[in-house]
Amino acid sequence: MTAIDPSQLAEAREAKRTRRLTRINKAEGWFKVIGLPFMAPLLRAIAGDDPRGQMKLLWQTLFVPILSILCFLGLWAVLAPKVHTSLGTIPGPAQVWSQAVALDAAADREAERRVAFYERQEERNAKLIADGQRDKVQNREYTGRPTYYDQIWTSIKTVFMGFVLATLVAVPLGIAAGLSPTVNAAINPLVQIFKPVSPLAWLPIVTMVVSALASGDGGMSRSFIISAITVTLCSLWPTLINTSLGVASIDKDLVNVGKVLKLSPWARVTRLVLPSALPLIFTGLRLSLGVGWMVLIAAEMLAQNPGLGKFVWDEFQNGSSDSLARIMVAVLTIGIIGFLLDRMMFAIQNLITFSDKR
């Protein structure tokens, strides 16, 4: 057996630590991107790299946000019972939490009922087949109330539909406007006029047009299309404006290189224009998705698209003693999902755009 040299052992440990720290440093950018900036200092402190310095960072990135949230909850809990409304006092954090739990439980029950419904149907059909009455077999869809999670999912689908439509229109139009001053001059007045229009003003028009054109069957309900198109109309502008700005502000020297190389129009757009403008295009897309998500809730309220907006509206009309608490659950859900959507776009942007800083 060979004797293990303690200095060698220490060296190996040191090397391992260095490797671990480089990995943490690499991951740090991604932690920031996904909204967990405290992860890197936390991991570093655990790995034993300057724990005191890391504590300072942790204080800023983790403890201060937690403290501020706790302060907010405290103020809410103290102040809310003092406001009396026709539906009782404003619910505090505890009631809101219990409503969130209740909504989750309701979703579970609904899922059980759904399973039970299909089981019964299977059974019935099996029996009919066994009795030789195959022509009486019926397969029905379960039509229970949408659960809270169904509503969230509907909202997300709607906002994505609207957002994708807006992107498909805005990015090519923005590129055209950025490349050609003539196109820009043609589009600009329309953009300036339509940009500030509220979704609530668009909605009646969209409703009438969609009702006239779309039958409402074939997979997508009318309310879904109306909400999605309203989202499109309102979330078009940030992408359009940022894309044309990004394209118009390409480095003039790079444009000259493109001229000397006599790139074909297609190569010019794909090799030069798009990569240059991508960071700003993504900035526009992020803004658009944010606007779209905000607009969606209002659109769903009026168009009765069975998403979060309709949930809020129904609870408001319902007016039970739990309604306000449920609406607050919805408000928090809307906020958290909006934040996650933005982080998602930011992560995609970091993945696919070129930047000098990386």
Partner: protein
């Protein structure tokens, strides 16, 4: 030792129509309209270049030497007069007139190889993929980037980027190479290194070249003729000096050459004369 890539040899094998007047600037003017009336920046530039000649264009900053170059590149419209290259009038930019810019102007999201390839794909449309790759690699090797071909342009130092810029220009197999203060942004040591790289690559291809510079030593080192421009506005060619120094040149060999200082004095003398603005000739 290193044969030129096949696709390059094929593309450059045409017989020139007039080798003595391969590139000709005649009565070249650049006039910008201003609120106070038209401003003549460059006036009546006349110059003929032989095929394979290297000319340096030197003058004080703002004298319009870069304007002449960008007009030859086709990036700046000609106000009056003409530039004729190999029997055709210069109109608009074209890869047959390659440009090395002062800042390297690489596409930062592409690697060194892709930056050169984007032009090569354009000028050798009939060559096979392997042939084109040959051209790209040949020039990247010549400028000393064998080990950095796949490095992203955004990760490179300025010196390395300008090496890629040089490779990109030469790889286009141009009829005319235009260099617009190509080493102006680099520190002296890197500049010397790259001057030698440029000389080395140029010696292999002997492409007709015009180099704008305000560095006297650089002008002499690179050129067969140094063209000195008077100060703008209304800048024009003041003096032309033939540089009869043996090639291939190196910076060190030039410093010990007896004629070198005479050339240097001549050019510096001219530049000093024009140091305090435009001198009106006695009418």
């Amino acid at each position: 030792m290193y044969a030129l890539p096949r696709a390059y040899a094929k593309a450059s094998a045409g017989i020139a129509r007039n080798d003595e007047r391969y590139l000709e600037f005649s009565q070249l003017h650049k006039i910008y309209p201003t609120p106070k009336g038209p401003l003549t920046v460059v006036e009546d530039v006349n110059l003929k270049l032989r095929k394979g000649e290297f000319v340096s264009l030197i003058g004080h900053s703002g004298c319009g030497k870069s304007t002449v170059l960008t007009m030859a590149a086709g990036l700046n419209p000609i106000s009056k007069g003409a530039i004729v290259l190999d029997g055709t009038y210069v109109e608009g930019a074209d890869p047959e007139r390659a440009v090395v810019f002062q800042s390297p102007n690489l596409f930062p999201w592409l690697s060194a190889r892709e930056n050169v390839a984007i032009g090569v794909d354009r000028v050798y449309p009939t060559a096979s993929r392997a042939e084109r790759q040959d051209v790209v690699e040949y020039y990247l090797e010549r400028v000393g980037l064998v080990n950095a071909m796949n490095k992203s342009a955004s990760e490179m130092s300025n010196g390395m980027r300008q090496r890629v810029g040089i490779a990109r220009a030469f790889a286009l197999s141009p009829k005319l190479l235009l260099l617009d203060e190509p080493f102006g942004m680099l520190d002296s040591l890197t500049r010397w290194e790259l001057q030698e790289v440029l000389m080395e690559v140029w010696d292999r291809t002997k492409v007709t070249a015009v180099c704008v510079t305000h560095d006297v030593d650089e002008a002499i080192l690179l050129a067969d003729r140094v063209v000195m421009m008077t100060n703008g506005p209304q800048a024009t060619i003041g003096k032309i000096t033939e540089v009869n120094l043996p090639r291939p040149r190196t910076r060190k060999a030039l410093l010990s050459h007896p004629d070198y200082y005479a050339y240097r004095e001549e050019i510096i003398g001219f530049l000093e004369e024009y140091e305090h603005g435009h001198k009106k000739e006695a009418a």
